[in-house]
C-alpha cells in the first residue's frame, strides 16, 4: 500500500519533537539536508553564545579561564549522562576524534603486555580509525588484523572472537558503521574482548545523539567520538573520550601536556598527571569549539535520547519503505540492516550510479552523502528532519533516478 505525502504530514503533526526545528538556524530554502551526519545544523543559540564568548574574551579576559577550564569536563559530564550512559568524571571533550583514539589506544596498549602488538579492527571501519590504529600497531612493531565485515549487516561478534588471538593488544570498532549504519552489539563484543583480555575502544561518532548508548551497562571501558554530526557542535568541533572510572588511574596517555598535570600552574619539574579523567587531556582547551558543542548537546539533551531515537527509527522506517516501493524497481538496493533496531539514524542505498545520482539529487534540493564505491547515505537527524522531508526526498530521488542522466 502506497505511503502518501498526507501520511507523512500526519506523522509530522504527531511528532513530539516538532518544536525542535525552530531551535536550529534554517538552512537554504527548499533544501532537504540528509547529510547531517557529516555536519549537524547550528542551534539558533550558537550566535548568542559566540557573542557572549567574544565578550568574555575582551572583558573578563584571562579571568574567564575560571569558567573555560571547566568546559572539557562539564560538557563531557553532560554528554555522559544524557547520551553515553556514563558517570560524571568519565568523559572529557578535547582534541579531535583521531587524536583521542590515538591517546586512548596508546594508553591501553602501554598498560598491557608489550609483546601483544597486534591491533584488531574491521575492514569497513572509518578510514581515520583504521589509519590511527595502524599507526599505533606499527609504532610497536605490530600490525593491524582486519575482521572481515558484512558491508550491510556490520560486524559479526564471532568473527571478532576469532581475530582475538594471544598476540592482540587492542580492539577498536565503531558502534554505528559510518556507511551502512549497522549497529554493533556492544555487550557481546565487550564480553568477547574481556574473555580474551583485550582492551576495547568504541568509536561512537555516528552514535552520540543518535542512538541510545549505555557505556556502563554494556561493560564498555574506553570510547571516543565526534560532536559535529548528530550533536551539532559545528565544523571541526572538539571530540570526546571516555574512560571508565575504575580504569583511569592505571592508564597513562602518551601526550603529556600540561592540562593533564596535577597542580598545573605550579609548573613543577616532573610530569605527575592527575588521577582522574583529566589525565587524558593534553593542551589548552579549544574554547570556541567547546561552547558550540555545549549548545548542541544541551539542545539535544532537552529532547532526550529516547524521543530522538524513536523519531530517528521512524524516519528510517519511512525511508526504507519508500525506497522499497519506489527505488528498488529503479536499481537501488538497501545497504543498511533492514531492521530499524539494527541501524543507527542513517540509511544507505546502493546503486551502481550512486555518485552521479547523488550529484543530481543535490541539484534537485536533496543533499545526501556519496560514500564509495556505490552508496548513497541518507542521514536522518531526528532533531531537524521531518517526515515530509523524507517523503519529498525519496520522491525527488525517484524522479532523478527514473529520468535519463543529462
Amino acid at each position: 500500500m502506497a505511503i502518501t505525502r498526507a501520511d507523512a504530514e500526519a506523522l509530522d503533526e504527531a511528532d513530539p519533537l516538532a518544536w525542535m526545528r525552530a531551535r536550529f538556524t534554517p538552512g537554504p530554502p527548499g533544501l532537504i539536508a540528509l547529510d547531517g551526519n557529516s555536519l549537524g545544523r547550528p542551534p539558533v543559540s550558537v550566535a548568542a553564545r559566540l557573542a557572549a564568548l567574544a565578550h568574555d574574551w575582551s572583558q573578563r579576559r584571562i579571568d574567564a579561564w575560571d569558567d573555560w577550564m571547566q568546559l572539557p569536563s562539564s560538557v563531557g559530564d553532560l554528554l555522559a549522562s544524557e547520551f553515553l550512559g556514563a558517570r560524571p568524571g568519565e568523559v572529557v571533550v578535547c582534541d579531535s576524534t583521531s587524536v583521542n583514539l590515538y591517546k586512548v589506544g596508546a594508553a591501553a596498549l602501554d598498560a598491557g603486555d608489550a609483546g601483544r602488538n597486534v591491533v584488531v579492527t574491521d575492514d569497513d571501519n572509518f578510514p581515520s580509525d583504521r589509519y590511527v590504529l595502524a599507526g599505533l600497531a606499527a609504532s610497536r612493531g605490530g600490525s593491524v588484523r582486519y575482521v572481515t565485515t558484512d558491508p550491510v549487516e556490520g560486524v559479526d561478534p564471532e568473527r571478532v572472537a576469532s581475530a582475538l588471538q594471544p598476540d592482540v593488544g587492542l580492539l577498536s570498532l565503531s558502534h554505528v558503521a559510518y556507511r551502512s549504519g549497522a549497529l554493533a552489539d556492544m555487550t557481546a563484543i565487550n564480553e568477547i574482548a574481556r574473555r580474551a583480555d583485550v582492551p576495547m575502544v568504541w568509536d561512537l561518532s555516528h552514535s552520540a545523539g543518535a542512538v541510545r548508548v549505555d557505556l556502563e551497562g554494556t561493560g564498555s571501558d574506553l570510547a571516543v567520538g565526534c560532536t559535529y554530526k548528530y550533536l551539532c557542535g559545528g565544523p571541526g568541533a572538539p571530540a570526546f573520550l571516555y574512560v571508565r572510572a575504575s580504569r583511569q588511574a592505571a592508564m597513562c596517555q602518551p601526550i603529556w601536556g600540561w592540562f593533564s598535570q596535577r597542580d598545573q600552574f605550579a609548573m613543577g619539574p616532573e610530569y605527575d598527571p592527575v588521577d582522574d579523567i583529566g589525565r587524558f587531556t593534553t593542551g589548552t582547551p579549544p574554547v570556541l569549539g567547546l561552547v558550540c558543542v555545549e549548545e548542541g548537546v544541551r539542545l539535544l539533551a532537552s529532547a532526550g535520547i529516547g524521543a530522538l531515537r524513536s523519531k530517528g527509527m521512524a524516519l528510517g522506517v519511512l525511508a526504507v519503505d519508500l525506497a522499497d516501493e519506489w527505488l528498488a524497481p529503479l536499481g537501488f538496493r538497501l545497504a543498511s540492516p533492514r531492521r530499524a533496531t539494527r541501524r543507527g539514524n542513517h540509511v544507505a542505498l546502493a546503486h551502481p550510479d550512486a555518485e552521479n545520482l547523488c550529484r543530481r539529487a543535490a541539484a534537485e534540493g536533496v543533499a545526501g552523502d556519496f560514500r564509495g564505491p556505490d552508496r548513497l547515505r541518507l542521514g536522518l537527524a531526528p532533531a531537524t528532519i521531518s517526515f515530509v522531508e523524507v517523503w519529498d526526498a525519496l520522491d525527488r530521488l525517484r524522479a532523478v533516478s527514473a529520468s535519463p542522466s543529462s
Copy 2:
C-alpha cells in the same frame, strides 16, 4: 633623569602603530592589560567573522568545507611569510602546541637511530614542553636531559653543546623564554644541533607575532607554537607547526589521521600520507578557532613584524627604565635580559612578594602574570599597549609596592 608621563604621551603621538588599538575590541575601562602573552585581545573583526562562519555553517553547510579545508595551510602560509620566515607549504595550523610538539618530536625521533632515546631541553622551558618531551623519551626507554639555564639570561649554547652526547635523539627549546623573555640564539643552537646530528624543535609560542623569526635563515628544520598570545587567535586557538620542506617527506608523524592521507575521500584501505606539510595534520580542522586565528594573523601582518618588534622593544625599554628608577629601590630586580635585543616582548621583575603584589596591582587596574616563584611578568603586546599605559602601570606598581600590604 626622570621619564615623565608627558614623555610617554609624546611617544604615543609618534607611534606608527597607534592606529592598531582601534582594531581591537576595547577591554574593561581603566584596565591596563599587560597579560597579553597569556591571551591576546580580540580583533574587532572577529565578531563579523564568527557571524560569517555561522552563516556558512547553516547555509553553505558541507559545501563550505571547500574553503574550510584550506584553512590549516592558508593560515599557515600567512604565518610563514609574515612572522616565521618560512616558505609556503612549510607551516600548518592544527591541534594544540603540545600535540604538535609531540607529533613533530616523535617524527624526528622515529626518523633517527632508535638507540638515541635521550631528549634534551632546558630546565626553565615551558612546563607543557618539558612534560611532552619527557613522555616522548619515556616511551622510547629514554629520559630527558636538562640543560641548566640562567633564569634571567636564558639558554647558553655552550651548555646545549655539552648536553648533546651521542645518546641524544632530539633537542627542543623555546626561542623566547616564557618567564624571563630571554631570546635564544637560533642560528648558533641550530648549528650545534646540526654538528651533533640531533634534530631540533623550536617552540615559538612567545615569539610569533612578537619578535622577528627567520626559520629559513637560521637553519631551523622544525618548530611549533601557539596562536593565542601575540597572534590574538582567541582562547585555546589551534597552534601551528613548521617542518622545513626538504625534511617533510622523510618524516612520519605518529597520529595517522585521515587529514594526512593522500586522496583522503577515497578512504582507501592503507595509510598513505601526502608528501607535503599535510602529512603532519591529523583530524578534522577546528574551523571556529582557525577563522579567529586568521583574523588575528591578518591584522598583525598588516602592521608588519618590523614595526611590531620596534615598538615592542621601545615599550620594553620604557618599562625597564621605569623599573630601574622606581621599582628597584622598592625591592624589585630585573629578571629579564637588560639588553632589549636579547629579550622578547615581555619583561619579568623579581620580587619576594611578587604573587601578592601581582594581586594588588590587579586591584589597581594593572593586570600582569605571576610566574613562580617570585616573578611578575609584564607582557608588552605592541599592537594593543601604549607607552602611557606602560608608564601608568609602572606608576601604579610603584604605589602598590610602596604602601603596606593590607
